[in-house]
Symmetry: C2
Subunit: 167 residues, 2 copies
């Protein structure tokens, strides 16, 4: 299973805040997580050979973007349990129970809002990808498939999201 | 960017309904799409070396599953524009504007509800994967990240979902 990059992210976010180091996650940004909640505008530049695949995406208000967390190294892909957001006061949990970018297959998924499409450039909000992240896929966002507004979370996740203003 | 399978899907769905052939999508199931809306129970069997990564997933009601559409061949990965669901009466649109399993990187994303976890086996509903699909990733489903209930769709998609009883 080999991925072909179909595009690249241009973002004001230049470095990841959360880094896998010494067998756990570490928050390496001076700003607290909450300040990342207001996502800025990013661009997705699709590689020329995939331009035709974009035909019609602008008829949707939102797209689901899959991208590769390219700053995660081999050590990050081997992590087993982590402290969510590098917070040692939260329980140590399995990587599949966290949003850690460091995971066996560092593919991140996020819905974005389309502001504008110009040729093979999409201007979007809501994209949390670091500048230079390879884009793997773009899909239309379908509420009837992807929205589960009443999904129940773990206690530590509820606490974390509340602290970040996203509870 | 090389993926490692972290598990496999056991499903009553034995063959894909939608197949890439002769440069377009074709619906190859005798049953109409609507009958697939009531998803059956599936199992996700995580490979033994990834068991520890599941620690804590059962504290969430829903997980986001990423899997590889392994029945998509090289021709399917080269499709550019398709008729959604193989329906020649709908407009020809770019693959990134459709849910086609045939796409450059055939990774499908779906929220599932956990019924039970037993060791490295998750029993779930909502998983639309074909039996034998390699699992690529499992994440907790966070409504505040993944739910966009009011996202706007294209006209043809609204028509299709309405016909399938998922409008």
């Amino acid at each position: 299973m080999t991925l072909k990059p179909v595009g690249v992210v241009h973002s004001p976010i230049k470095e990841p805040s959360l880094v896998a180091r010494t067998g756990d996650l570490n928050w390496e940004d001076e700003a607290p997580p909450a300040s990342h909640a207001d996502y800025r505008t990013s661009e997705i530049i699709i590689h020329p050979e995939y331009t035709d695949l974009l035909h019609g995406v602008e008829d949707f208000s939102h797209l689901l973007v899959l991208y590769w967390a390219h700053k995660v190294d081999a050590e990050g892909r081997r992590l087993t349990k982590v402290h969510p957001m590098g917070r040692k006061d939260l329980p140590l949990v399995g990587v599949f129970g966290t949003c850690s970018p460091a995971r066996p297959n560092p593919i991140l998924v996020i819905p974005v809002k389309i502001l504008e499409r110009k040729g093979r450039t999409l201007r979007v909000t809501g994209l949390d990808a670091v500048d230079g992240s390879p884009v793997i896929d773009i899909k239309p966002y379908l509420p009837s498939y992807y929205s589960v507004p009443d999904a129940r979370l773990s206690d530590w996740m509820n606490q974390l999201l509340e602290e970040m203003g996203r509870g």
